[in-house]
């Protein structure tokens, strides 16, 4: 064992990694909500979603982590960026709500967070008696095409009709372009 290998302790690395992931999530979320420039908000959202992908990784589902990157970071934030570019020249930030309203919203949120953390810590979450440990993608695939095949079909139908509807909406928005 070389001295360097002795210094790197896997559990410590894992802990530091988790700290980074959590920091990215919160940092991104705060940028996404508190900053005034809408482009900063989208970048913050992307950062937060990277963090969430990391959390999924730590929760033992690399598949979902990649899906999060693909769908959320890759598709949703890009779509939002496009919308910003198409709909608003990047100018000055919008005036925000009055201080009083912000204070009200803030106290509601602090209250809800307090309640949620009280609940999270005060509840006994009982694990099920029999627990399968099959976290493979194969298991997900099998479930998607057997038990949840209707779910799979329905979400494709929803996506198809929403894309159609989105096209129709955006097209007629231009006036009667045939």
């Amino acid at each position: 064992m070389t001295p360097v290998q002795g210094l790197i302790r896997p559990d410590l690395v894992a802990k530091i990694g988790f700290g980074l992931v959590a920091a990215a999530t919160f940092g991104g979320a705060i940028i996404a909500v508190f900053f005034r420039n809408i482009i900063h908000n989208v970048l913050g959202l992307a950062l937060a979603l990277f963090g969430v992908a990391g959390i999924f990784f730590y929760l033992g589902s690399p598949f979902l982590a990649f899906m999060e990157l693909l769908i959320y970071v890759g598709a949703i934030t890009i779509t939002i960026t496009f919308a910003i570019m198409l709909s608003k020249p990047i100018g000055g930030p919008l005036p925000e709500r009055s201080f009083k309203k912000t204070l009200g919203a803030g106290s509601v949120c602090v209250l809800i967070f307090g309640l949620l953390s009280y609940i999270v810590m005060g509840t006994k979450w009982t694990p099920a008696a029999m627990r399968s440990s099959d976290w493979s993608v194969k298991a997900i695939g099998q479930m998607l095409l057997t038990k949840y095949d209707l779910v799979f079909e329905l979400i494709s139908l929803v996506l198809l009709v929403s894309i159609l509807g989105a096209i129709v909406t955006a097209r007629y928005g231009r006036g009667r372009v045939e």
Partner: protein, 102 residues
Amino acid sequence: MNSLTTYLLIAAMLFTIGLFGVLRRRSLIAMLISIELMLNAASINFLAFTKFVSPDPATGQIYVLLIMGVAAAEVAIALAIIISLYRWLRTIDIERADRLRG
């Protein structure tokens, strides 16, 4: 290595930040971004419970996949509407979009 509580607290925090954004922001796109944060908080909850509580790992993961699919459709629809509304209003600000009496 982390306990269930850690993940649930992270999710609760993310949910609250998103909620604050929805209540406070005026810009429509910023509200949409905040809603995405709330949906992600729910996803973390689902996966954490799948890891620590649920008997079957696949169900929770499929639920999270489903949330992503729905969120993608939702964003596509919202943005299509925002873009075409923009052509009428030339600004995206919910309090200026108040020609309809609230």
